[in-house]
Symmetry: C2
Subunit: 207 residues, 2 copies
């Protein structure tokens, strides 16, 4: 079994969406003799996280509405590191995108350890294509899955179709191909997102 | 594939260790048009979580020192719901505890949706026995793995031997037996614990 850790580390200096200071996690450490305890305060969209429909759809479903099984899924990593602006339906059609898998979009975002406002994103046409392919979920190595699209159509197409969005992945060193995704989000219920530790597992032939 | 969710839900009313109000998670929800965003503030030992040595050992290893593979592991659920006070080496010896697995201790704690100060715990002798069995980790359905043991010997024996402690499990309805544990903690590094969504997976024969 080989495990790829595809998560961002949460620390006070982690890069955050649009570099907004209020999105940085805050840690308060207390020491009492040999006992150490920490309090963590964070935005649910900081670091690697799952978006639920409620994030972008008024009265949409919250994170607790997803069955946990969604986050243990066959997954396909697609390499779009050659794309310079965005991933559209045309680019996706050049790949052999499987049906009914969790699609993981690898871009050159994974090479950057800072917030790039020009991050590669999934455009509206790409979201429609993945919806039509029956994607279980869509993951991307950016803190947002879209940018500069008025009305957030990528979010709305995916979330409106019940497709999980997994943001803030780190995919450097992960080859294109098939994996088993394990990305169980923290167990929240009525909220619009949840932080997650995401991993891709490659089973040995002998397993 | 059958998945058992063995995690506590994090919400403002979740029960916490010793009912300390400062251990309750705090959620701040912001709505801006159709966009909803939430900030979560929580103690790292609230809900289901992993303890690292640093929690109880001065200058001990922090959570980032554990390899992620530790949290994807063969696991054995042992039913101790008949125990009234604690789990000791004698009780463990009556079970066929496997070597080199993540041992999950199910007790009558799982039947209680409140903090019981008399929760069932793993005593010092039990910790020594599991260490000697080469346990990869030890999970329990209590917010602490010990109580009323001066000097925290259970924590120190396990953590001192590099054995992962997984606290705050919910095991009602989970039969004794063999599983695959998936419990990847949030990716923190220099801290003494991390919250986790924990699951037990039963593979279909056909998988």
């Amino acid at each position: 079994m080989k495990i790829y850790d595809i998560s961002m580390e949460l620390n006070p200096n982690v890069f955050v969406y649009k570099n907004k200071p209020e999105k940085k996690p805050v840690f308060e450490v207390t020491e009492n003799g040999y006992v150490t305890e920490t309090n963590l305060s964070m935005n649910l969209h900081t670091g690697t996280h799952i978006d639920a429909p409620l994030h972008m759809i008024k009265d949409g479903a919250a994170i607790g509405a997803y069955d946990l099984a969604r986050f243990f899924s066959p997954a396909q990593v697609l390499d779009f590191t050659g794309e310079k602006e965005k991933i559209s339906a045309a680019a996706l059609k050049e790949k052999n995108v499987k049906r009914n898998v969790f699609v993981i979009l690898k871009t050159k975002n994974s090479e950057k350890e800072y917030f790039d406002p020009e991050f590669i994103y999934l455009d509206e046409s790409g979201a429609g294509y993945l919806r039509d392919q029956g994607a279980i979920g869509v993951g991307i190595d950016a803190l947002g899955i879209e940018r500069n699209q008025p009305g957030h159509p990528t979010h709305k197409i995916l979330l409106g179709a019940g497709i999980v969005i997994l943001e803030g992945l780190r995919l450097k060193g992960v080859p294109e191909g098939d994996y088993f995704l394990a990305a169980p989000p923290l167990k929240l219920n009525g909220y619009e997102a949840a932080p997650v530790r995401a991993a891709l597992i490659e089973w040995d032939k002998a397993d």
